[in-house]
Symmetry: C2
Subunit: 309 residues, 2 copies
């Protein structure tokens, strides 16, 4: 019995090494070099080619190599009702919090404006608010969003959070449901998107939401490019409805060279690296799930097909 590792956009070597370090007995076949497809019971995937799972007649479960699973469900030939897991990696979560904190401070301390001033050799002081006077709204209160919201609150920020179902998080004003989205973002100086990508959240970062934010508030998107309506963002920045945006994800990645975002003074771009799964810290739970699969025990971090996350 064996595991298929399918991550052509990444170097598979660190994953192979980390998995074998967790269990040297594993038989791992790295796509596209599949020797014995009939032996594969468990597939570890990051953006697998559509249809590529059909070659495994005995596949019993699939795990995303990251926190997101939308790339799995994007495959129209994804096997229906196949158990799907994802990685819940404390390092991924911590790294995401550190990136979000960087972004919040970047706007709070006016680093985007100072960068513009530096471009034009302009010396103009701007007094910045303290953390205690700055408000952050976190959209999505799952593992990543919940951790970010609570840790920002721990640093003294005023934090509100929004999710599909009602959550309770210490120090966070929690809102739930589409009807309360406006209330969740109304007072925020920065809105952070950490939502899963589902049919309900696709395109949620658009004019109707921006209109509910304070004029001049900023946006951080670290979830998926498909959450954002790119045309609406440009309009909101140009009208002053939004003050700035920090984007780590885009509809098309890498961001095309002729995209308007590259040279917009109020858009700061990072190349989809807000936080990445650490193979070393993720391997143990992948191997654990493989053992659970083989012995018929319930899988960890399983995804709800219906909800899509």
């Amino acid at each position: 019995m064996s595991i298929a590792l399918i991550c052509q956009q990444w170097d598979p070597a660190p994953w192979l090494e980390a998995l074998l370090a967790a269990d040297p007995e594993l038989d791992i076949q790295v796509y596209p070099d599949i020797r014995a497809p009939e032996n594969v019971e468990f597939a570890l995937c990051w953006k697998h080619p559509a249809g590529s799972l059909a070659q495994f007649p005995n596949l019993k479960a699939v795990s995303s190599l990251g926190a997101g699973v939308d790339h799995l469900f994007n495959d129209p030939e994804f096997p229906v009702a196949m158990p799907v897991c994802r990685v819940v990696d404390p390092d991924l979560t911590q790294g995401m919090f550190e990136y979000v904190l960087t972004g919040v401070l970047y706007f709070q301390k006016h680093f985007q404006q100072f960068a513009s001033q530096q471009q034009s050799r302009r010396w103009q002081r701007i007094i910045s608010p303290y953390c205690r006077d700055y408000r952050v709204a976190v959209l999505g209160l799952g593992v990543l969003g919940g951790y970010c919201a609570q840790h920002l609150a721990g640093l003294g920020y005023g934090v509100s959070g929004w999710s599909q179902s009602q959550k309770e998080l210490a120090g966070v004003e929690c809102y739930a449901g589409v009807e309360n989205l406006g209330a969740a973002v109304a007072d925020a100086d920065v809105v952070v998107c950490l939502l899963p990508l589902t049919e309900q959240t696709r395109g949620i970062l658009a004019t109707p939401l921006f209109a509910k934010m304070q004029p001049g508030a900023c946006l951080i998107n670290v979830a998926r490019g498909q959450h954002l309506n790119e045309v609406d963002l440009l309009q909101a920045l140009d009208s002053g409805q939004l003050g700035g945006a920090l984007l780590d994800v885009f509809e098309i990645e890498p961001l095309p060279e002729n995209h308007l975002f590259w040279h917009h003074p109020q858009i700061t771009i990072t190349p989809h690296c807000s936080s990445v799964t650490n193979p070393k810290s993720a391997a143990a739970q992948l191997v654990d799930n493989y053992r659970r699969l083989r012995s018929g025990r319930p899988l960890l971090n399983q995804v709800d097909w219906q909800r899509g996350y």
Copy 2:
């Protein structure tokens, strides 16, 4: 008896308002509109014109309106042996920590490099270290530096600190004396300067110090422009000895329009606003010191003439 308020580079109104809110009975004369110089016993100064204190025959003490006092001692006509105080403002300290944290994260999460990449429409992922794997050296462990060092350690950073005299700070590897400066910065990814400006520290950020840092380490200067040898910095960046610099203070402020720093891709400039004294939170201690002066009790936050801080 009255107080002189001398801060021509700032708007005096918020200071006047905050002082009178703390004690509505105060008689405050705002320079240069001095009605009765013989009544002035206490002068509150920020970059007063050299020699301007000579007009007060009954002056008994001077307070800086900020944490630094070098601007007082820059006046060659400053009255010898005059008691000098400074402001120790919890808001100034907190604001400085927030700025320093912004700067540390800015380098740690490669935001300076991503800004360069964005300029040239380049999409290149760079994986960032976690806070726990990132090391910060704080030069100066006074009120501001000590607070920053301890709070960075509290966020998980590896922190070393350096000061004139040996300090003990929880979670901080403390070094003291010129002979240990190299050891203090040897492992740092970022060196933060929060030293007082004295004859010993003037020009300390220069080639000999840079040579003791790891190649590619970054520098944050939030103390005084005179701590930095600007020519040495440019050489260190161009040779790769330093990876980047975030500067809030400069030899000449505002930074002259033709200065080489403005367009250097590895220098990020903020216009001397890392943290400012909040008149509201500083007024109480200024008024308290005035009362102490009038009743002959010891002044708070008094500066040591010999040390210069």
